[in-house]
């Protein structure tokens, strides 16, 4: 016999002002199977919860309904109270008479009627609830960090320093990401390499970190605590166990005219190369597409020069399979291809460059050893025009969002230029100066006041060449006049956009992304570092445009999430999962295809002598997320969802 307790909460005035709680309590008290029906001002309060527990014990209740606010608010609270009173927590149901009733209705009488319907339907449901036990799954205490930029490095170091194992996967030959390319960094103007390189070295030498560079994630299966990840080790053609990084091969390589990706095309590299001098690991790779041997079958100069026989032209891609408990995605960003702005002449005029190229010019380890020189003739420019928002905040050709860092780095560029080229003049075309952040506004003020950056508020319509000069035509909206500035060099603050393969990669790991390809957090405000998939976390610019302080802060936050996950031996999961009736399953495998989480497998049913009788669907409780897709698909009605069984839902509907 059902003995249900109904607890009707006033929520102060929130519910009681519209719903006649006394009438509701009386009506529910009369409903068959209800043993006790009471009202109270705040059931979520301490005395409120105590009264629920007391009622459970006194009346030996077999289930309870809390008629109150949304289950998102307090379901957990009341389940816990149930458990403390010795009742299985899944025998507690919430009837939402606040968000779905009192808050949205004006007529008191009708609201009371509706509250009765809602509560009654939950009473009918809870009569059919079953005792459920949380599902326990083991946790593999090993984290995978994808991306070796500053965000990935920070996350890996934080996790490893707390004593947990980390595998760090970087697709380029070296760690570093974009930060390794920067010259000096706002807002403190400290040298990027100087703060970055020690981190890279520390990561490579850390006993708890396994570093896999020139590697990519091939596939991810499994679920939180129990991912199975396959990594492709791209063939470097250099045996890392032998190579000491002496660089003899690089000096001997005759293919020397290859445009350097790291120097954004401003410098050259060889076919066997390390991206930059401080690369970690400091071991080269052969770029197969540019290698003379791979093209013509003749050369092998590098092989001959290597004293340690580290070069191996026969090397193949290899695969490594890993068991992983948590994943941190830190795959960063790329800059937008500015060639879409034909009017700025990028790609047409060599002295129109991107902000990232400017970083390489300003970098002491860059192609010009830190001198600001024009790519066209190697001369020092006397007038430089910077164009902000060259792609950002432009729904027509670029992206709609603000890239967040360009105002700051443009101010930085103007300062670096003023420090390096005395007497040089800068003009900065801008829409707004967005310098919110610690020390940021002061920084841009410094550029204007001390380094004499001249800011022009307005957009540029055209850049063209005349008598060896770049002519920049724009509008000064403060003066309300068109202006033309003569420049020796133009620097475009290009938009920060997702990696070119961001969307496909999201599908490989099974996380959600926004319209651009930035990865979605589970909740913008309350769960900003978790992805929508349990056990996968987000750090750095792969989630949205970020500067270094933000990327590092988020990376440390993911580390704390990962460590919290690893602090337990087993994970508890909600037991709301699909269950299959093997007797009636027709084995059509429609559910296998329909399940968005790949949670359904084929299971053999055999007789005593081991002969296969039939195959049926089996729901893996560790993988199932309880979405119910399969339940609605199954024609033979074999699948059902624990906690929301068809019996329960039917009773709920009939109770209305």
């Amino acid at each position: 016999m059902a003995k249900i307790g109904v607890f009707i909460c006033h929520c102060g005035e929130n519910i009681a002002a519209k719903v006649d709680c006394t009438k509701l309590a009386a009506a529910m008290g009369e409903h068959p199977g209800v043993a006790v029906s009471v009202e109270y001002k705040y059931f979520c309060s301490d005395p409120g919860q105590e009264s629920v527990k007391k009622a459970i014990r006194e009346h030996n209740l077999t289930g309870i309904v809390i008629a109150a606010c949304s289950p998102r608010m307090h379901e957990a609270t009341f389940r816990k109270a149930c458990a403390e009173a010795g009742l299985n927590p899944y025998l507690c149901e919430i009837a939402n008479i606040r968000e779905q009733c009192s808050w949205v209705h004006t007529d008191s009488e009708m609201a009371t009627e509706k509250a009765m319907d809602i509560t009654r339907s939950m009473v009918e449901k809870v009569k059919r609830n079953n005792n459920l036990q949380p599902i326990e799954v083991p946790v593999t205490r090993r984290a995978l960090v994808i991306g070796g930029g500053i965000a990935g490095l920070q996350a890996a170091l934080d996790i490893a320093n707390a004593g947990q194992e980390v595998v760090l996967v970087e697709r380029e030959p070296s760690l570093g990401g974009h930060m390794a390319q920067l010259s000096e960094t706002f807002p403190t103007l400290d040298c990027s390499q100087c703060i970055m390189t020690p981190r890279m070295v520390e990561t490579a030498q850390h006993p708890k970190i396994r570093l896999l560079t020139y590697a990519e994630v091939e596939s991810v299966d499994g679920y939180i605590g129990n991912f199975k990840v396959r990594i492709r080790m791209k063939s470097r053609y250099v045996d890392m166990s032998r190579c000491t990084g002496c660089g003899d091969c690089i000096t001997k390589c005759p293919a020397k005219k290859i445009s350097s990706e790291f120097d954004c095309g401003l410098g050259k590299r060889t076919a066997i190369y390390t991206p930059f001098a401080q690369s970690v690991p400091n071991m080269p790779v052969i770029d197969k597409a540019s290698c003379i041997y791979f093209k013509n079958g003749k050369c092998k100069m590098c092989e001959k020069s290597c004293q340690l026989n580290a070069i191996n032209f026969e090397m193949q891609d290899e695969f490594i399979d890993l068991e992983i408990g948590a994943i941190v995605v830190a795959t960063g960003f790329q800059i937008q291809n500015t060639a879409v702005y034909g009017e700025y002449g990028y790609g047409k005029f060599p002295d129109v460059i991107t902000g990232l190229q400017f970083e390489r010019l300003a970098s002491a380890s860059g192609p010009t050893a830190g001198r600001i020189l024009r790519p066209s003739d190697g001369k020092e420019p006397e007038n430089v025009v910077f164009i902000q928002c060259a792609g950002s905040r432009d729904p027509s050709k670029g992206v709609r969002y603000c890239s967040k860092i360009c105002c700051m780095y443009t101010a930085k560029h103007a300062m670096l230029y003023a420090h390096k080229v005395h007497g040089g003049k800068t003009h900065i075309f801008y829409m707004d100066i967005r310098a919110a952040g610690k020390g940021y506004d002061e920084f841009t003020r410094r550029a204007i006041e001390e380094d004499e950056a001249s800011y022009v508020r307005g957009r540029v319509s055209k850049v063209w060449q005349e008598n060896g000069k770049l002519m920049v035509r724009g509008v000064d909206t403060l003066l309300g006049k068109p202006v033309t500035v003569v420049a020796d060099m133009v620097v475009l603050a290009t938009a920060m956009v997702p990696q070119h393969n961001a969307k496909e990669f999201a599908k490989t790991i099974g996380i959600a992304y926004d319209e651009y390809g930035f990865y979605n957090e589970a909740h913008l405000k309350l769960r900003p570092v978790e992805s929508s998939t349990a056990g996968v976390f987000l750090a750095g610019a792969c989630q949205s445009p970020k500067d270094i302080p933000d990327s590092v802060a988020q990376a440390s936050a993911t580390a704390s999430k990962v460590l919290a996950l690893f602090s337990k031996e087993k994970l508890e999961r909600e037991p709301v999962i699909a269950i299959n009736n093997e007797a009636t399953c027709a084995g059509c495998w429609g559910c296998v295809l329909a399940c968005p989480y790949n949670a359904i497998e084929k299971k053999d049913i055999r007789d005593r002598s081991g002969r296969l009788i039939k195959q049926v669907a089996y729901v893996n409780p560790g993988l199932c997320q309880g979405c119910g897709t399969c339940v609605s698909f199954c024609r033979s009605n074999s699948l059902d969802l624990a906690g929301f069984t068809e019996k329960q839902i039917f009773a709920e509907v009939m109770g209305l």
Partner: protein, 276 residues
């Protein structure tokens, strides 16, 4: 006649050399224009084989009877093009292995029966793709066109009128090769989603559930509406759903044995007109 004789010889040969263990065909029924299924295991039984334009039943449902194919031996079967499509669906839904089925294909125009080329379902793919391209000509139903012209209210009244005769005998389900579930949803009574009694609500529930379960799977063989003892034009409902999935998802049921079920799969270029 010639086709019938040729096939009879072929069946005998295949039985004799052990290529098939049985052939499913037609034999005379209770009246001159009715046929009943024939299960041929010996060459004597093959003598009863009839193949003419009145052989309309889609026999493929017999293939999934419990245990028939579990010895992995091959079974022959007489099929019209719709029947071949149903073999593909049954294979795509893992109810049988298409390699075990030897097809004796035929079709008819007027009273003339002619054989179709091919022995395995795969060999019919050219023919089936042609059907997909011009389904409307082949499956043109004057009544369907009339119904399409009705407004929602008229249509509802039409079907209410038709369904009012349904006696919940489930003959339509038994006759349909796609209705192979060991337990149909109407047989599950915990909870009883579909009312068993034959009143308006229960009849609507049943016929609509069936229409949904057959959408993207019905091959328009007509077994159901021939089986219906009260002559409800059931095939029209399924034809309508077939048109929907063809328009909406470019899905023509039973094109191949590896076709993914339309309601359980997803293509990136699916139109999503139904999302408001």
């Amino acid at each position: 006649m010639i086709t019938q004789e040729r096939y009879r010889t072929t069946v005998k040969e295949l039985l004799a050399n052990g290529s098939i263990k049985m052939a499913i065909g037609y034999k005379p029924g209770s009246t001159p224009d009715r046929r009943r299924p024939l299960f041929i295991r010996t060459s004597e039984e093959a003598e009863q084989l009839v193949l003419d334009s009145t052989c309309v039943q889609n026999l493929s449902g017999y293939l999934v009877s419990e245990g028939l194919l579990s010895d992995e031996k091959r079974v022959g079967i007489f099929l019209r093009p719709e029947g071949v499509r149903s073999i593909n669906i049954l294979a795509a839904e893992y109810q049988l292995n298409a390699d075990q089925i030897v097809i004796f294909g035929f079709d008819s125009t007027g009273r003339e029966v002619r054989p179709l080329d091919g022995r395995s379902a795969r060999e019919f793919s050219g023919l089936l793709n042609e059907l997909k391209e011009k389904p409307l000509q082949i499956y043109k139903e004057p009544l369907l066109e009339r119904i399409e012209k009705m407004n929602a209210k008229e249509r509802f009244d039409f079907w209410q009128e038709e369904f009012s005769r349904c006696i919940k005998c489930y003959a339509c389900r038994q006759a349909c090769p796609m209705c192979y579930c060991r337990r149909c949803i109407v047989d599950s009574n915990q909870p009883q989603w579909v009312n068993t009694s034959s009143h308006t609500l229960g009849n609507f529930e049943w016929n609509i559930v069936r229409a949904f379960h057959l959408s993207g799977r019905c091959v328009q063989c007509g077994n159901c509406d021939r089986a219906c003892p009260v002559n409800i034009p059931l095939r029209l409902i399924n034809q309508r759903m077939a048109n929907e999935v063809l328009d909406g998802f470019d899905h023509f049921a039973g094109l191949s044995a590896t076709q993914e079920p339309v309601l359980a799969s997803f293509k990136k270029d699916d139109t999503e007109t139904f999302i408001l």
